[in-house]
Symmetry: C2
Subunit: 743 residues, 2 copies
Amino acid sequence: MIKQALLGILCGAAVLTVGILIGHYGIEKSGDSAPSWVKDVAKDVDESLIEQFLSEVNNIEIQENLRELTKVPHMATTAGDEETVKFMLKRWQDPETGLDEAWREEYKVYLSFPDPKKPNKVTVVTPSDTVLHTAREKEKAYTPDQDDPAVVQPYAAYSPAGNPKGRLVYANQGKASDYLRLNQTVDLRGTIAITRYGGAGRATKAINAAPYGVIGVLVYTDPLDINDGLMSDINETYPHSWYLPPTGVERGSFSNSYGDLLTPYLAAKEETYRIPAENITGIPPIPIQPIGFEDAYILICELGGEAAPNEWQGGFNCTYNYGGPGFKPTSAFNNSDVKLDVFNYETQINSSNVMGVIRGSVEPDRYVIYGNHRDSWVHGAIDPSSGTSVMLEITRVLGRMVKQGKWRPRRSIIFGSWGAEEFGLIGSAEYTEEYFTKLSERTVAYINVDIAVFANATLRVSGMPSMQNVIFKAAKQVSAPGVDSASVYDNWIRYFNRTSPTYGLIPNVGYLTGAGSDYAAFVHYLGIASMDMSYTYDRSKTKARIYPAYHTAYDTFDYASKFIDPGFLSHQAVARTAGNILIRLADGLVLPLNCGDYAESLETYLNTAVTLYEVQLKANNISMEPLKHAVASFRRAADHLNQVIHSSDLPNETPLKVRKINDQLMLLDRAFLNPLAFPDKYAFRHVIWASSSAGKPTFPGLADAFASAESSGQSSDWEKAHYHVSVLSQAIEGAANILADVI
Amino acid sequence: MIKQALLGILCGAAVLTVGILIGHYGIEKSGDSAPSWVKDVAKDVDESLIEQFLSEVNNIEIQENLRELTKVPHMATTAGDEETVKFMLKRWQDPETGLDEAWREEYKVYLSFPDPKKPNKVTVVTPSDTVLHTAREKEKAYTPDQDDPAVVQPYAAYSPAGNPKGRLVYANQGKASDYLRLNQTVDLRGTIAITRYGGAGRATKAINAAPYGVIGVLVYTDPLDINDGLMSDINETYPHSWYLPPTGVERGSFSNSYGDLLTPYLAAKEETYRIPAENITGIPPIPIQPIGFEDAYILICELGGEAAPNEWQGGFNCTYNYGGPGFKPTSAFNNSDVKLDVFNYETQINSSNVMGVIRGSVEPDRYVIYGNHRDSWVHGAIDPSSGTSVMLEITRVLGRMVKQGKWRPRRSIIFGSWGAEEFGLIGSAEYTEEYFTKLSERTVAYINVDIAVFANATLRVSGMPSMQNVIFKAAKQVSAPGVDSASVYDNWIRYFNRTSPTYGLIPNVGYLTGAGSDYAAFVHYLGIASMDMSYTYDRSKTKARIYPAYHTAYDTFDYASKFIDPGFLSHQAVARTAGNILIRLADGLVLPLNCGDYAESLETYLNTAVTLYEVQLKANNISMEPLKHAVASFRRAADHLNQVIHSSDLPNETPLKVRKINDQLMLLDRAFLNPLAFPDKYAFRHVIWASSSAGKPTFPGLADAFASAESSGQSSDWEKAHYHVSVLSQAIEGAANILADVI
């Protein structure tokens, strides 16, 4: 009986255990088991995936991308451009390495071209119209690339056509101050001014000239500014080095605006309203034409008149004179004029963006956008195809992961291959105009990699301060090319650094205050956290204004692979760093945007403003206290939000709490937009990063207004300074409100 | 043995069952049980809670709120206003029926007042300055209310001070066409014009007059327009009826803008930049003063000159003549002038908004805002205290539920008791300026209930078309006062209805195209789905322009409780309907905003535009196809989104999917904002609902541009029409993009 009883108890216990096990594991609890999406919404960045990405980014693939992209010149809307459109689509639609979807978007945009049948001419002509000298129409060929019939003649896009003829004068860089000075010595009416690139925007050199009666402008690249003084194509310049050959000419857009010039703030669709062309502002009012320094040498060294000041002297082995106006009495050109024959014409023509997307799994309605333009002036190996090659390598590696089912980002990733950037950031600007509200509401960040590699010394990054942290994190995980066991970060900090009050010595991330590439509309028009990245020079080794083949027929695969980045390891480093940032932005549970770093930048701007302006503002009854209060509010709110992020167990809380925080981080920059702040430059609405002419590292609207008020002393100008203090205070308090607890 | 075996089996089975039960219910599954928030995020509107809300809304409470609010006059920034601030704070901070939090926000705003020491005067004076008649300075007292020393003298806020004296003329309603016509008969230089309220904005009556040389303007309320012709205070007017006594005078803001006049688009803080007062536009350039019809009768019936046209004739028992200029030769006033002595002064003074909040449980970063102004001209029983009484009753019922722990809304609810609305919607406008980005990004809807009850016949609602559906749903659940067993909806449809292509006969929800109350900044500046609600007249029973005591010293508790809504059942119906809508907006899992109804309105506007404009636009080479395409895109996207909503099992899907849909619904109106669309009225940026002068039920910018182009025939005006077609097309396509699948 005892045995039986024991057996019974044992059996009973066993049956009970089986029952418990069945009950616990065998029967699905109705209603209270976790839905499958609970884990998905809590997922964070997968570090092993980032490792995989980094290891798969391949320098040879980038090299081959570049070779393909630079086979022929691909100026916007040409046959070569169309070939690159098709190439991008083929790559992004590839069943094994493509994106979820890729397509083309067209805008009908206003472009300016030289007439292939009537090439622009620059000549020296006697009073009886005998031609004494004719500038080269095309660059000299050193490789078959320059002989490609699709190489566009050097010209100044948006220069009006015309045939001005007049005495030559030398106007240095064509800055307002240059013409002012020149005009004190020389009667400029009816003259042609020759100017150097640099110092002032391209169009500005002609816009500044016209009020003095100048009727035409030449522009060239001085060897001092681009070649560290070297000039000889026998042994010093390309193909012997990266330096610009004497006949190389920088092309460019001679327009101060960005976006299609006929459809400001409207997407340039077929039927869109277009302003009359005569209402366009910011383009040359008089003909202007670029030439090579081979011809500039011949013109400048023959100029008569007084010697120009020291800081106007360039790299030629002669004195740069102002011009009599005109040439020296002793010159063979004595009494001769310079004549420009510019036959540029404007046309409305379709330009394509190529768009591609990887759909987000958890938050498809949040976008990380990565872009670069596709169009070049000629072959554009560096500008922009170095960036496009990098973008294609990133999409190849990510696309394969997606196609293999190994990965899908939390947020959607949009890739943009913009058209007609060279004419004024047109493709990206039209895109932001067409999708304005959607992009404003949903975009967490924009990454721009245009010229990926200027040179192979160091990383250089500009961006919103909130992006600094994720940039650093990514740069630390990538090894620097050519430097043993150092990271991109370690190498970077040697070249560009600053002492942060928060972190001590760190690499210096610049600010995106200009409109140098396609980030402009994202930063200044939409207020989206953005960054622009490249590998660049060792400034102790060259003073070149930019890589010497920039916008010339020498910016070719041959040039890039021999002189810019042999082996393509700098390209690879950029691809790894930018791709790493992209993945972190797309996959982070919490967006890797640090509002505390934004606070530090605002504090720095504020300190500068207080130092420079407070005494004089006070003397004009303008208090800076509201601005100080606003920056302090922002700091307090930022620190608090960071504390909430770090003290919360976000993976286990409602996904709407994470979303709330992410929206705060995403939208903080939107508060800095004010469409009224700069009525004469509406495309710049970001009151912290707008462009400024005052040249002070502080709030741009206040800096410009203060400079005007200080120089004019007029009370209406002081009122404008007061207005900008109020605009800034309201914007920064508004941003603080976004970061603060929501109610 | 069989018995034992059976017993054993039974016991075993029982033990097994116990085990299963323990295993299933007794032991928490580790890892895969649902977190507690999973149920919270899926919660939808609780219909029983709405029933409870409806049953607790009490008409007597509303009556007592009104009695308290109207004890003394409470014009903006006066001692009476401060009393109402404190009353609101006390109620919203009540530990048993208050909100989570309530506070005051102050702005320093630019207001205009009469000088209590030098009352404004209107006199008839002979050439030798003998005063023949003096208009009443204050309204006649019928109850102690009118004798309150805080009753402000009737005046025209923002009229400049001045002492113009001249011959009187009658200018009908002071419309541009009225002065044009009058000027054809009478030399208006140096005259004083008397005008009737109605037909043109208050300030406009003086702005239109000045170019003709008119030096002063009087304005009065004609008995024909307000009293259905009745005039006698012996037995016809208040206190015998709701009609205006002969000495009643409508006060008002004589400004065409909204928001603080010195700080456009900036919140009016102490240190904010202020424009010079002389730069203010949209206010009278010449003195203007309102008077009662008792005095107007004396002046108008003595006027000489030709008889004015039929449509200029009002309710007086005399012929309205143009004026000689001046009085009849037979009049005692012959050869006399009318003199205005206006001593108004402007001041910058603190005005308060009172804010209160119930924090959201699941989505605290989504706001439903409910507001009304608090300031009145005198006692303001109807305008605005009927609305404030209703708001206080809603907050009492909801506040108690919150304090008792019975309810917390999914989204945050913000209540705003705005200051200085009567001077130009100032409190609400400054609030939207200060919190612009935060409110833009987070506000799902704004509900405005200003005058809750004009009369007790029927509901009347204006709002964004997307709100129609939730308004109908709520109105069907509330019984109509005074109508047996009919709902507010059933009653409403009898008074205002239309035939919808989608639904057939439904109540007509108007559009918020003007700036009549505090919804203006929410609609036109921020693009937030908004509505404005009240109970109103049976138009078959009165032609009164508005309830007769409007903006007079007779708008008192006595008047409201005797003649507008005895028993306060219409107030109760409004509170129930508006509160029901509020709860649904705050608690709905999916926001109750129907984008398909928006599509129907756009289609109606489009059809009208095509009918009215297409032929002439085509003749000027302007295609309407892009606009048709845009509206079709919107319709397609709206139908698709509705289909996604209805075919999804949203309570069981990731809350981020619901959030995505709700963001689409919330943000669709933002796409309609374009700060450049109306450069001369920047506060109106909503291109669908902006105010228009063309008087056509279609897209306002296009309608106005078309009207200009048609009348001038100038190509630049046709270009403007083309511009507006493009602006509209881009905005509507942009809204469609918000509704479409996110990638």
